[in-house]
Amino acid sequence: MFKKLWISMLVLLSVLVACSGGGASNNLTKDETPDKGMEVFGEAVMFNPNKLVNDGEPITIELWTWGAEDVFQKQIDAYKEIYPNVDIKTVVNPWDEMWTKLPLALQGDDGPALFNIHNSQHDNLINFLAPYDIPLADLQADFSGVDAHIIDGDIHYFDIGIMTGSIFYNKVLWEEAGLTEEDIPHTWEEFALVAKQLTKKDDTGSIIQAGYNFNGDYQAMVLGLPYQQEDLLFSENGQNINYDSEARLAFTEYLHELYYEHEVGSPNFGDDSSQSFGNGQSAMVYKWGWFQGELNNNYPDIEWGVFQTPFITEEIPFAIDRYNGESTFGINKNAPSAEQEVAQDFVRFVLAGDDFSVDYALLNSTFPTKYAVANHAEILSNPVLSVLSENIDRYMWPGPFPAIIETVSGQVFQEIFYNRKDIESVLSQAQEDIENGMSQSKFISAEKNYLHYND
């Protein structure tokens, strides 16, 4: 019995080895040509290809990421074409677990020289980051997402793209309701009317098509849309949460009215608005840029459009919504100096060119922070980015705030919409819970860096 099993396992193993592709060969050659005959490119952040990297000696560094490997690989291939002595190996990690492994790996000198950062992991990673070897003024001249990331005059990473919310709508259901492009709502009042028109009920009065579905989205909305009423999420010193505010109360009451007075949706109409929209059961949803990818991948048959999140009035508000940034690479300060040198040069190469900003923006519908590509044809032809481009300077980043704020916001939704508790008391309790949760936090809000903060 055992012999047969071992033999069958070994045969299976041999078949697998034969079937699988071989490992990538590492054909690095010594670079002996400093002058590549190439032009220096870039605007403020410039890249001069006419030099040797690592004195032309072969060198391999690693770039750890949780995705976007095709976008990164395109840059790596372009860089390797200039410097045949350099190899940059991408290592793809699972999203959740990367934040366990990466800090461990960065403690020694075996960690990756380059890695992708998410700003929610700022505290976890900042002590391992080397500052960019690019003058701050050059970065500021080329990118809008720099100021909020300055630490002691240095930049360790910054926002390469801005992700925020918009309203996605089902074009077929829109047409069925007799609506046209002219009916796209600009205010929350108009939005409620359109949502009512898009709602369908059966003979018993049960909703069979939600005009607007925000199940699962309350957390994202309630932390950003109150900015429209000049309501900051944090106090002036940037340390204390301002959750139990008039604006948040008013906005939550508005959402409550949508479900319980206008009956355009229901908390019991499925708990996942994405799936409901993808299956043509909900006509409008509030989603961030990543939703475009989800629609393309999982719901290719849905004909959808997108419009800017409505305002309180026709006037452009103080800020439209909150955004979060997709970050540039981190450089490992514990990596050997030769690897750091290559990493610094590669970061400069990526930032000086335009391709990376455009490709990365299109990947998850994040609006590029690079001024030079804001009006790029591909950016403006993307439905989500084209909508955001209208008022891109009116989105606020409060900083990488502690996760307790989103967690409590999820509980707020449940208490109000499922347990039917009084909105004021729930928000008041939430304020208390977040204050307790943040009592040990050193977080300071970045709201003061907002372009229109003093308007």
């Binding site: 099993l5 396992m9 697998l16 699988s20 995705g67 290592v91 993808g278 999982n298």
Partner: protein, 272 residues
């Protein structure tokens, strides 16, 4: 009346087995659907559009067969080694009398009481210091002794009468011969149990191989499965196809050893 009871009992068992098996069958069937069908509300159980694209994609995206082969290699080596080391240590603890025997056995049992998560950081540090990061030796070497395996085989070998061993010795058998030709064949049930458990543990282990292995082409299948869940969503079709492939060796091992599995476990439970 007795027959009715048997039928009723079998019906209950059938209901439980359906509950257990249906999600697995659903996963298998869904691996032949496009993602749009998998996430469809009220979609049919069987695919409307049959596709093997998910299976093609998992190989193209991750070189999944290589990960599969890597896992198979590590699992086979670790399982084989653990069986041998457990048997030899279990034999010594069961059939030889020496000073400190009970203490050693107690220490071995003690290793089973320590949650593995507690040891993961020091183990990681050791592996880094040994320079074994990104190598299979770091996956295999820390796993070659198993407290559970030693316990199970010691208990099993204790049930083998001493007379059998004495008879072999009187016939001129060496200790080496007795272990390989008498003890091992008579411990098949326990070995089968250890083989199933150990193979499953190594096959499913995620965190340790994930922390140790960096090179994509050396990575194991449990880590590969996690790559289907991204920051903003999950590729369900790919995940189901990859999972369907990944359970094949587990089924082979279980089917091979299942007859002796229960006997092996119960044998360890009743002997002291």
């Amino acid at each position: 009346m007795k027959q009715v009871k048997v039928i009723l009992f079998n019906l209950i068992l059938l209901a439980f087995s359906i509950l257990t098996v249906v999600p697995f069958v659903w996963m298998l069937v869904s691996s032949f659907k496009p993602n749009s069908e998998i996430v469809k509300i009220g979609g049919s159980f069987l695919p409307d559009t049959f596709t093997i694209q998910n299976y093609i994609n998992v190989q193209e995206r991750f070189d999944f067969l290589r990960m599969f082969g890597n896992s198979l290699f590590v699992a086979v080596v670790v399982t084989g080694t653990v069986i041998y080391t457990s048997a030899i240590v279990g034999f010594a603890l069961a059939k030889y009398t020496f000073k400190g025997r009970e203490f050693i056995f107690g220490m071995i049992l003690g290793t089973m009481m320590i949650p593995w998560a507690v040891t993961i950081i020091p183990r990681y540090d050791m592996i880094v210091n040994f320079g074994w990061l990104d190598s299979y030796i770091a996956l295999i070497l820390p796993s070659i002794f198993s407290g559970f395996g030693i316990f199970l085989l010691r208990q099993n070998i204790m049930t083998i009468p001493d007379d059998v061993i004495e008879a072999a010795r009187m016939d001129g058998a060496t200790e080496w011969y007795i272990f390989h030709r008498v003890i091992l064949p008579m411990s098949r049930n326990a070995i089968s149990s250890i083989a199933i458990f150990q193979f499953l543990w190594v096959w499913e282990d995620f965190l340790w191989p994930y922390l140790i292995i960096n090179t994509q082409s050396k990575q194991l299948i449990a880590v590969g499965l996690k790559l289907f869940s991204g920051q903003y969503g999950t590729d369900y079709g790919g995940l189901f196809a990859a999972t369907a492939i990944s359970i094949i060796p587990v089924i082979i091992v279980y089917v091979t050893f299942q007859k002796r599995f229960i006997a092996g476990i119960s044998g360890a439970a009743v002997k002291g």
